[in-house]
């Protein structure tokens, strides 16, 4: 229990440091949202100054940070100049779509990578394993951007899947069943792109970890006892190999988030990615800070989940804590 509390404290520390750091960077940045107005001769300099004052852009940095913290507590997370509303509702609407994409892709990628890696580790250096290694290497050398654009070209050429967007034009009029079908169709391409971009790495790690464990004496003994192949692999080998894989799980979420940022923009999926890009181009700093914090929160959440899994799987961690 103390272990989990410590991890929680650690996560909180990370989040607050990231918020301070992004705020600091934002303060150092040249220009703000109202700069373009200043160039416009039809807008009086006093108006711009008044606007700046209204949004407290003329106050010193610590004051702004505290007032931003205050708005976080009130569930607003600052103010978006471009959308003329609080950031939190904007972000939540977009984050839902990003999470839908990322979580589906995470589950799918691990669901494929685990059996594939174990299967390949069992046939180490045989031809199916070699084939798979070549396959993953091939996927690894295709740049993410090329992969996404390639899928998009394919979609446009074949018309099998809608190329971009999240819903058909007449989405609101569809029956619930058709709504789900429509959403699934729209999700297919981004999810496939995401899964393909992380899959090779995951498969290679699973394979290496399991292959490592398979040489352990206790597994040889288990085989000698006549335990069946399936039980041997999934009941004995996989848990023993789980430790590095769980840490990888935490990191893979970071990769997936980065990947989904790009994929959302390219496939015009209404997630956090396009919002963040617009905000950067428009100097809408609170949205940028909110977007970055969202990604940190999600990643930290993923790592926390990994820690809990580790606690559950690895008895060494439990006993270490109780002894301490």
């Amino acid at each position: 229990m103390r272990y989990l509390l410590r991890r929680l404290g650690h996560a909180f520390f990370l989040l607050s440091s990231v918020s301070i750091l992004t705020f600091l960077f934002a303060a150092l940045a040249p220009g703000n949202y109202f700069d373009e107005m200043r160039l416009n001769p039809q807008i009086a300099p006093e108006t711009v100054a008044a606007l700046r004052a209204q949004y407290q852009l003329d106050r010193p940095l610590p004051v702004r940070y505290v007032s931003w913290l205050n708005s976080v507590i009130h569930g607003e997370m600052g103010f978006s100049f471009a959308y003329n509303s609080a950031v939190a509702p904007l972000l939540i609407a977009r984050a839902r779509n990003t999470l839908l994409l990322t979580i589906t892709a995470t589950l799918l990628a691990w669901g494929i990578a685990l059996p594939l890696g174990v299967w390949s580790a069992e046939r180490l250096e045989c031809w199916p394993d070699r084939l798979l290694s070549w396959g993953t290497a091939a996927l690894l050398v295709i740049p993410d951007l090329g992969l996404v654009l390639g899928l998009l070209v394919l979609a446009v050429k074949t018309n099998w899947f809608p190329a971009g967007g999240m819903a058909a034009v007449d989405f609101e009029d569809l029956s619930p069943v058709h709504k789900i079908r429509d959403l699934a169709l729209h999700m297919t391409l981004p999810v496939v792109a995401l899964v393909l971009s992380v899959l090779p790495l995951l498969v290679r790690h699973v394979r290496a970890a399991v292959a490592d464990v398979l040489q352990a004496p206790f597994l040889l003994a288990a085989r000698g006892h006549g335990i069946s192949r399936r039980t041997l692999l999934y009941r004995y080998a996989l848990p023993a190999a789980a430790n590095p894989l769980i840490s990888l799980f935490g990191f893979s979420i970071g990769g997936l988030l980065s990947g989904s940022l790009l994929i959302e923009v390219v496939m015009s999926w209404p997630g956090v990615g396009p919002l963040l890009l617009e905000a950067i181009l428009g100097r809408d700093i609170f949205v940028v800070i909110g977007g970055v914090l969202f990604s940190t929160l999600f990643l930290v959440g993923g790592n926390f989940l990994a820690d809990m899994l580790l606690y559950w799987v690895d008895p060494r961690i439990r006993t270490e804590r109780s002894r301490a």
Binding site: L145, G146, V153, L257, T296
Partner: protein
């Protein structure tokens, strides 16, 4: 032994590929920004050896393109206009490796522009833009990796060697950078820097941004090596003889980190090339008309280009050999780094 030959093999591949990009002016038939407004979106011209009458020619030739009947943007090969591919022709001026003024190009055609990878909206040769674009993207990747490794080396060595509160502080800081997904971090850094700037400034800005993002992982690895090395007997002996900290670090400890740094470099360079591509693709990097691998692809963000002009996608495939070279290099370096049996099952490129 096998490890060494494969290492040499990949190194040769990479040197050849980089050589082509470095001498872009020679390999590209045209200037990358030279426009030919009369021929927008020409499809790629295929080199032929057999002409329309079935006769075989030793020298490859291409057919020029003409508009299809009743269309304004669909082209077809004009079989009556064959152009021989000529080698070592003189053409647009350029500077070889940025120094030697030159006019010789590897190939070209007389009195006509040929487009091996098609042309873009302004009639610029995609092939030339691809080769020249590599200069920007690869240089950004290489310099970015250099900066990252330098920062990683300094901070990692300081953390590992001095320990104590310096170690705590630096490693906490590194954790912070590892906690953010790298693309978000890249975006965040880019967000707070000026947007509309000249290509040269943008280029250096991007290198700095990319270089500042990835230092945490190399720093951790260097720290681990330094931690174990500084307790080795030869280091202790040198210290006993009165060697200063700086001398110890420079002479005995940092050379031990070389293999880690090399492996990291082979992993980081393609990642950073990709980072530059992503930024330029999204319009946050080096702007037009300077070609980079990223903004070559950014045309594809327009739906009409995606639907009608598939050859605009070809540059994406041209990058695969580079990534393959670096992946091969990274895995053979890793194989070489470890001696025991497990090392043979290399993981390839780790994040």
């Amino acid at each position: 032994m096998r490890g060494r030959t494969s290492l040499a093999k990949w190194l040769i591949v990479l040197v050849v590929l980089h050589g082509i990009v470095a001498c872009a002016g020679f390999f590209a038939p045209y200037d990358p920004v030279e426009q030919a407004r009369g021929s927008p979106y020409l499809p790629p011209m295929r080199p032929h050896l057999v002409d329309k009458n079935g006769h075989f020619h030793v020298r490859p030739f291409v057919y020029l393109m003409k508009l299809q009947e009743g269309s304004f943007d669909q082209y077809e090969e004009d079989k009556s206009q064959a152009k021989l591919l000529r080698f070592f022709v003189s053409g647009a001026r350029y500077r070889l490796l940025g120094l030697l003024p030159c006019r010789i190009h590897l190939f070209g055609a007389e009195n006509a522009r040929i487009y091996l990878l098609g042309s873009d909206a302004f009639g610029r040769d995609q092939f030339s833009r691809l080769v020249f674009g590599g200069q920007v993207s690869l240089l950004a990747g290489l310099l970015g990796a250099g900066i990252t490794l330098l920062i990683g080396l300094c901070l990692g060595a300081a953390a590992g060697y001095y320990g104590g509160w310096i170690d705590d502080l630096l490693m906490r800081f590194a954790e912070l950078f590892l906690a953010l997904p790298w693309l978000y971090l890249l975006f965040a850094l880019r967000a707070f820097l000026p947007l509309a700037i000249s290509p040269i400034k943008a280029f250096f800005l991007i290198i700095v941004v990319i270089g500042a993002v990835g230092w945490a992982r190399p720093a951790r690895l260097v720290r681990a090596v330094v931690l174990s090395t500084k307790e080795r007997d030869f280091v202790r002996a040198a210290r006993g003889f009165g060697a200063t900290d700086l001398y110890l670090l420079r002479r005995h400890i940092l050379p031990e980190t070389a293999s880690v740094l090399l492996t990291q470099a082979a992993i980081l360079v393609p990642q950073f090339v990709l980072a530059e591509m992503t930024l330029s693709f999204l319009g946050l990097g080096v702007p037009e008309p300077v070609p980079t691998w990223g903004n070559l692809l950014s045309n594809l963000q327009q739906y009409s280009v995606l639907v009608s002009y598939w050859w605009m996608y070809l540059p994406a495939l041209a990058m695969v050999p580079f990534f393959l070279g670096y992946l091969g290099l990274a895995s053979s370096l890793q194989e070489r780094g470890k001696t025991h049996k497990i090392a043979k099952r290399s993981l390839g490129s780790l994040p």
